[in-house]
């Protein structure tokens, strides 16, 4: 059976005055129907660009997909013409952005923005689409949906706006939703509400979810599988359980150890990852994590490690991954 989404060796670059930024540098992963896949990484690691690449929403002319393939239900999205791509975008693959205030149009009513996509994609009348809009607003837990249709984004709170964004994403019944940091701008209790809602709807409607986030806790709670990104590459991927139990890349291990956890006794000191993420215009020859890595050997600075998978699908791009399996002290 064809995978819902297959990304193969995707490379996206930006041409800037200070050089070519290798934002996504050979990334491969897939998404099955109905599952939740997380892409986790720190700011500037290329996780958002990888999502925009799938929808071909990169800023032109600076951003360009240089090579690779993105197959959605077997069809290569990169080979589609602009018109055909528009039929996929919003209809089959929808997106929820981080900042609900800037992704909603402030001068159009909620109703207009919700019905616009339906009129465009589903060829139904305004009246029919308004009826559906009410149903979707109800589904995402917005009280008095009829009144909301006439309101503007500034009438709503951050959490409510994100609910509207989710309703917009759902209204054309897509098979895949890409959520780029959907709750980063929201408070903890609202974050829990929104993620619980998204996960519930995804399970109920069988919609697959790509969850892009920097929050390791959110990934642990909601994702089936996880891809960890560093400097434009996936450096570790696998089932969330496997990756968290037995991280096989020093970066993942470092990330997991550097967050204080509520379920464990307080430690004297946090283990931090020294140094900073690399400049994506000047990537080193070998593994990009070398300057910050505690497991490095000579080979690491010379050759880029490929993602090598174990039998359970757990992959790591590290020459020394065997050494990480050894029993550890803390963590």
């Amino acid at each position: 059976m064809a995978k819902l989404l297959e990304v193969q060796d995707l490379r996206t670059q930006f041409h800037t005055p200070s050089g070519t930024v290798h934002a996504v540098d050979g990334m491969s992963y897939d998404v099955e129907k109905g599952e939740t896949v997380a892409i986790v990484g720190e700011s500037g690691c290329g996780k958002s660009v990888s999502a925009l690449s799938i929808l071909r929403l990169l800023p032109v002319p600076s951003g360009r997909i240089v090579s690779g393939a993105i197959r959605f239900l077997g069809q290569d999205l990169l080979a589609l013409g602009n018109e055909d791509m528009r039929a996929v975008r919003g209809r089959q693959i929808a997106m929820v952005f981080q900042e609900p205030m800037t992704s909603l149009n402030p001068v159009l009513t909620i109703g207009l923005q919700l019905t616009e996509t339906m009129v465009q994609h589903l060829a139904i009348s305004r009246a029919e689409s308004a009826k559906r809009a009410v149903a979707y607003l109800q589904m995402v837990g917005i009280p008095e949906p009829e009144q909301r249709l006439k309101q503007y984004p500034h009438h709503l709170s951050g959490g409510m706006r994100q609910r509207v964004m989710i309703a917009m994403a759902l209204c054309c019944e897509p098979t895949l939703i890409i959520a780029d940091e959907p709750t980063t701008a929201l408070d903890v209790t609202i974050q829990a509400q929104i993620l619980e809602l998204m996960k519930g709807l995804s399970q109920r409607l069988g919609v697959a979810l790509i969850l892009i986030t920097h929050n390791l806790g959110v990934v642990a709670r909601y994702a089936d599988r996880v891809n960890v990104m560093y400097a434009g590459k996936i450096i570790e991927q696998g089932k969330a359980r496997d990756v968290y139990r037995h991280p096989r890349h020093p970066y993942t291990l470092g990330l997991l150890r550097s967050v204080p956890r509520l379920d464990q006794p307080r430690r004297r000191q946090l283990e931090s990852i020294p140094g900073q993420p690399p400049d994506l215009t000047r990537l080193p020859n070998g593994c990009a994590f070398v300057p910050r890595c505690g497991f490095k050997v000579e080979r690491c600075a010379l050759e880029v490690p490929d993602l090598v998978h174990a039998a359970n699908g757990h992959g790591s791009a590290c020459w020394e991954q065997e050494r990480l399996d050894k029993p550890r002290g803390t963590g």
Binding site: V188, T189, Q191, A192, G217, L255, P260, Q276
Partner: protein
């Protein structure tokens, strides 16, 4: 509520009566004006509404709550960047509220602040060296230029930056480095109390840990007292001795760190803790979750009675008209809820 007992288990703390900071019945109301010509106040936003707590020398108090709960305003009141509507702020025994600008000046050296966003907290036109030296100039701490430069270098290396950084501009640095500059600047006047307003929330996970460790090191090295304002409950737990939870301008629960995280009593605290996902899928699968319904009401028009009652899973009829007072349920554990 002046006599809040001290209960943090910090070993290096002196006697309980040596409160460095004593906040009593603090209120900050912002007026909402209406009318073009004849402006009149139609309502008040009660950003901070009758808050009292004590902070002893060397202690770190965490102040947590969601956006708009008044935690930043409270910090700004203590810094006297905001003049409170009512209440007292006693710092080393002096009530800051009664002082004028001139009298406040020498005390401002002693209370410094670290801001959330290291990108907007540093002047983009000043070099790092000048940024760190500025408070020393203002307070004439180190009048000699050469000595001042030495002191800047010392502060830079203390905060994990190389002295060459003094010649750089903020835009040449990463977020983590900028936050280190912010900390170095705050330390330049040798303060006793540091108000840390979300110092790590704008930073990446791997950098957050570096800054948290630095703050911890500096606290031990200089016997600093922190008021640590944050929304990230796991960071607060790591760093603080005591924690106060705020909701809509009020403290709803306050206890030692271990008590609060292990035996939270207020339903809001319980929901907050439950909302924080733990980075471990196995733990998450077996965890019970309290998901709050509804949103934080507007502080312009807060609910009657207990401000939390519309979202509270434990609310009873009396919560709607009776505002619960903060009471001590166990030594050092204060809760504002009638149902616990």
């Amino acid at each position: 509520m002046t006599g809040l007992p001290e209960s943090a288990p910090a070993a290096n703390r002196p006697a309980a009566d040596a409160a460095l900071l004593d906040v009593v019945g603090l209120k900050k109301y912002f007026p909402i004006p209406q009318g073009m010509v004849f402006q009149r106040t139609v309502a008040h936003v009660k950003a901070v509404d009758d808050v009292s707590f004590r902070l002893s020398q060397g202690e770190t108090l965490g102040l947590v709550g969601e956006s708009g709960c008044g935690k930043t305003t409270l910090g700004r009141c203590i810094l006297q960047l905001e003049r409170p509507t009512a209440g007292q702020i006693r710092f080393e025994g002096t009530n800051l509220v009664e002082l004028n600008e001139q009298e406040l000046r020498p005390l401002r050296q002693k209370i410094q602040v670290i801001f959330q966003d290291p990108y907007s907290a540093l002047n983009p036109r000043q070099k790092i060296g000048a940024i760190i030296a500025e408070p020393m100039k203002v307070h004439s701490i180190e009048p000699d230029r050469r000595r001042r430069r030495e002191r800047v270098n010392e502060l830079l290396s203390r905060c994990g930056l190389s002295p060459e950084m003094a010649q750089r501009y903020p835009h040449e640095m990463s977020g983590g480095q900028r936050q280190r500059v912010g900390i170095a600047r705050a330390l330049s006047t040798q303060p006793a109390l540091l108000i840390c307003d979300e110092p790590v929330s704008a930073l990446d996970v791997s950098i957050q840990a570096q800054i948290i460790n630095l703050l911890e090191e500096l606290r031990d090295a200089f016997h600093l007292t922190y008021l640590f304002i944050a929304h990230d409950l796991s960071v607060v737990r790591h760093l603080c001795h005591r924690v106060a939870v705020m909701y809509l301008g009020k403290i709803v629960e306050m206890a030692t760190c271990d008590t609060l995280y292990e035996h939270p009593e207020h339903p809001y605290t319980q929901a907050l803790l439950s909302a924080v996902p733990v980075p471990d899928p196995q733990v998450e699968d077996s965890r019970q979750r309290v998901i709050l319904t509804g949103e934080v009401p507007s502080p312009l028009n807060p609910p009657s009675g207990c401000v939390f009652h519309p979202r509270c899973p434990m609310a009873v009829a009396s919560c709607r008209h009776e505002a619960p007072a903060l009471r001590e349920t166990a030594p050092g554990h204060w809760v504002a809820c009638t149902e616990v």
